[in-house]
Symmetry: C2
Subunit: 239 residues, 2 copies
């Protein structure tokens, strides 16, 4: 793990860019240590430095958490195959046209989840080896990856998932094996995530403690108070 | 309004029983005034002194709110007609047997909502006339009554509804006219409230800001942290 830049933010959080082999990542650490760790994952080709994601990570770190994110294969600035690019374009076109997207989605996103898992585990190992950062570990964000990590990675102790309308078949089937406490965040009018599928997924999770927060509005309309609610969810399970 | 008893609780809250004509009620006031008011309503024949309800009212008052509740006609110790008693018994029998209950429910609960509304408004007038208690007013609890109050009573500024699987037709139709900020609390495995109907009701509300919190468990299994979440919802809108 090699740190390539760092800056101290006004709220006392240290923000560092790093690389792990070819994996680029960002680590936010609070002024106080030891801090429990939260993995903040994003999908859909968003870069890890997308302003909404960065703002959430900084807020979360200011509440006493170490927060780590990476651009897994196919995300952010990572190289993409021409096949990925065309599948992505076809997915967007089909969604806009209101056509069924399951087959495109499955062929495109299922392999992306498979290749992201080992990279996130590598990052988890590396970050937990740093001084002042410890488990239990929380997870936040990309639902499909989070399901796979929650059922295969015993260090994950609590998970907050976002959206979840489109999730590859393998993860829909794994959902019942998720047993960690869950916070499932749903935008009721999410233009890209069928509501009923998200509700079915919430129903399928095996966790004894699972909570859904649903709010009016589209995919990017999550109200600010949900960031605070998520913080309290982690506080209950990680502190 | 005549106070019939009072006690000061360990958390500084003053708990007073009162009567308003034939309406019995309880008022909890915090140590600090002026305090915004929350109407905490219950349905289904529960008495206002049911321990779960009292515990929530005391908690809410300790957070700086005045909390008022009454036993509206047909609730708690209020006289009931023989017809009410037999409808109630028939409703329980049909629910246990898994039979359709809409007709029984409608014939029994719709008039109960109608008769409760003027009594709650009388209580609201009386409590707001006391020194140190002021609007805006929050509402908590019984969904059907809350819908009717929210669309007819401009002093209600925010409402938290519980359950909502069975709501009389008149209130299901009024739901789209509710425009105050809403927190809709759903027990995912509520044995007495069909989940899909509750989801449909949440969808129908006209409020620009509406949030649903759904948790695993049956009707009385709401986790303790929801009381705190509800407090923060009121803090955003009433303080």
């Amino acid at each position: 793990m090699r740190f390539t830049s760092e800056q101290r933010l006004d709220n006392g959080v240290l923000e560092r860019e790093f690389t792990l082999g070819e994996i680029p990542g960002t680590l936010w650490t609070p002024g106080s240590t030891p801090a429990p760790l939260i993995l903040m994952a994003h999908n859909n080709g968003l870069p890890k430095n997308e302003p909404r994601l960065v703002a959430r990570a900084r807020h979360c770190a200011s509440q006493g958490y170490a927060v780590a994110t990476i651009d897994a294969a196919g995300c952010g600035d990572r190289p993409r195959s021409a096949a990925d690019d065309s599948a992505r374009a076809e997915l967007r076109r089909a969604m806009r046209a209101g056509e069924p997207v399951d087959d495109i989605f499955e062929s495109f996103v299922a392999p992306m989840v498979e290749s992201a898992v080992p990279e996130w585990r590598t990052a988890l190992d590396a970050v937990l080896a740093l001084p002042g950062i410890h488990g239990p570990v929380g997870y936040s964000g990309w639902t499909a990856l989070g399901i796979r990590l929650a059922v295969t990675e015993p260090r994950i102790a609590a998970a907050a998932f976002f959206a979840g309308g489109y999730v590859p078949l393998a993860q829909r089937e794994e959902a019942r094996r998720v047993t960690v406490p869950l916070l499932f965040l749903l935008q009721w009018d999410d233009e890209g995530n069928p509501r009923q599928r998200a509700l079915d997924l919430f129903d399928a999770f095996g966790s004894a403690e699972k909570t859904m927060h649903a709010n009016t509005g589209g995919h990017v309309g999550t109200p600010w108070f949900e960031a605070e609610d998520k913080g309290r969810f982690y506080d209950r399970h990680l502190k």
